[in-house]
């Protein structure tokens, strides 16, 4: 089982396509810095490298439209590719259990997401460190809030929070939430054997979610706002959703789709 999981993870991350992680996080960082640096230069706002890190990875705009979208592109058609390329015909007879294969597939989404966010974090940190000074703590801009509504300025972190611990939590949470989110199109692709459908479902959802986020009720039930860690430090979203309910919500979605996928995978023809 562990070997199978390792294989499925390698299959996702050891390919040219996965190199998209570099431009994706680099672009998000550059856009975030383009927001932040003018404040440093023009108004002398004191910022450090963590403003760059959290201003990129915890910002809803960059997370949703760059980081998450690229992860969708990397993983959505994993099952469809296996089937259309006949790879599943080589793997399944060796496993002797479709459920084991499906479990490995699901777990590989989590491990690939973890690799994706760890690499992403390192890229964001490295680029931010070239423009902003290093500090062991959050800047005042990040903890006190600011009249400058840009980057971390839209979020407010608890005073005395350790940025290293918060970074680790952000990476783990983002990997978990993104993998759960991707379980939905991957499960649907068991029936709809088209790679573009598996891609279109999350793409459309991410874009539509942007329009209905002003409605408090839809915002509270929509999965997308719960996917990025910055939601719990935002003045608007933290009034509607919180971390603990999101963890339960995401776990439930994951369990439901794991069993639904398992049920379908046992009954499908490859």
């Amino acid at each position: 089982m562990i070997r199978l999981w390792w294989n499925e993870t390698l299959r996702l991350v050891w390919c040219k396509r996965f190199l998209a992680v570099f431009p994706a996080f680099a672009l998000a960082t550059l856009l975030a810095l383009a927001d932040l640096l003018p404040l440093v230069r023009a108004y002398g706002v004191q910022m450090n490298v963590w403003d760059g890190v959290f201003g990129t990875m915890a910002h809803w705009l960059y997370f949703r439209f760059i980081i998450l979208l690229v992860f969708v592109f990397l993983t959505a058609d994993t099952l469809v590719q296996d089937i259309s390329s006949n790879w599943s015909w080589l793997v399944l007879p060796r496993t002797n259990s479709r459920m084991r294969w499906w479990t490995a597939k699901v777990l590989s989404l989590f491990s690939a997401a973890l690799v994706y966010f760890i690499i992403g974090f390192l890229i964001v940190f490295a680029i931010s460190a070239t423009q902003l000074p290093y500090a062991p703590n959050f800047s005042e801009y990040a903890t006190q809030g600011s009249s400058f509504n840009a980057g971390v300025g839209t979020l407010k972190f608890p005073e005395g929070a350790n940025p290293f611990v918060l970074s680790a939590k952000m990476i783990l949470y983002s990997a978990f939430s993104s993998a759960v989110f991707m379980m939905i199109p991957v499960t649907i692709s068991i029936i709809v054997r088209q790679g573009y459908v598996a891609l279109l479902i999350p793409f459309t959802w991410i874009f539509l979610s942007n329009f209905w986020q002003t409605n408090k009720f839809i915002f509270s039930i929509d999965l997308i706002p719960r996917l990025f860690y910055g939601s719990y430090f935002s003045s608007f979203s933290s009034r509607v959703i919180d971390l603990s309910t999101s963890l339960v919500y995401l776990a439930l979605v994951g369990i439901v789709f794991y069993f639904a996928g398992g049920y379908m995978i046992k009954r499908t023809d490859f």
Binding site: R3, L4, W6, N7, L10, R11, W14, C15, K16, S85, N86, W87, S88, W89, L90, V91, L92, P93, R94, T95, N96, R267, D269, F270
Partner: protein, 298 residues
Amino acid sequence: MNEVLQVKSLTKRVKQKVILQDVNLSVSEGEILGLIGPNGAGKTTLLKIVSGVVRASSGSVWFDKSAGIGIVPEQAALLGDMDALQNLRMLSSIRGKIGTSEIKQTLKRVGLDPDNKKAVRNYSLGMKQRLMLAQAIMEHPKLLLLDEPTNALDPLGIIDLRMLLSELAQAGTGIIIASHLLNEIERMCDRVAIISGGKILRQVNLRSTEQTPIEVTVSTAYDWDILKRWAESVHVELQKLTPNKGLPRGILKTKMAVSQVISELQSAGIAIESISHVGPNLEAVFLEYAQLEGGVYR
């Protein structure tokens, strides 16, 4: 001989369409079975059901799962960004039965360089097909399924494949080959199942020694007379054919091997011009059955 595969009353329906109907098939240790049939006859579906990636609507498939199964799909299913060794390591790690040295040996056996670091996406079609063969045989399965294995192979590759399959069969591996190439099937296989419209229409034994006709041409009418007397003495039916360029010719219906017949005729003092088995003509048999089914070969 022990059977390595038994397929009993296998039926596959997709919605209302019957893909396979009441298929019964078996493969013995060391036997090479050819599956021939027109496009859409159900060959690939049958192989997929045997390997477990497609479920049967009814019927049963038995093979020793602990001995494993090797599969060569029609289209190479490989991870293009990895090299050959990495691809095989990934697949072999699932069962964990073999190590890197055995994988390298297998790569050499199919004519590939195990130290070649080139990504598989840059391989030629023939090299990809050899790699597919390597992944199928590396874990020494007792049952091997090949779907159009000669696709993309050059003539040398086809000869290598034929020799390799023959070696594997001699070592006891049961092999099923689905192919359109009747000549190759005829040369590689011991037995052939003709499949059309999801049904096995006929199974032809290509290596049968029972009553296999032997065509013999002798030098003179005198030799023919001796041949007739010899045939009567050993109770072998001799059927006279039209002479070939004036040389007397006939068919011997016997269980004897050609070598034995040659030896006996020479002992009887008969001058033989030519002698050979007259095996079943696969193409003729296939066309006959394909026409019966109203296939595209009519």
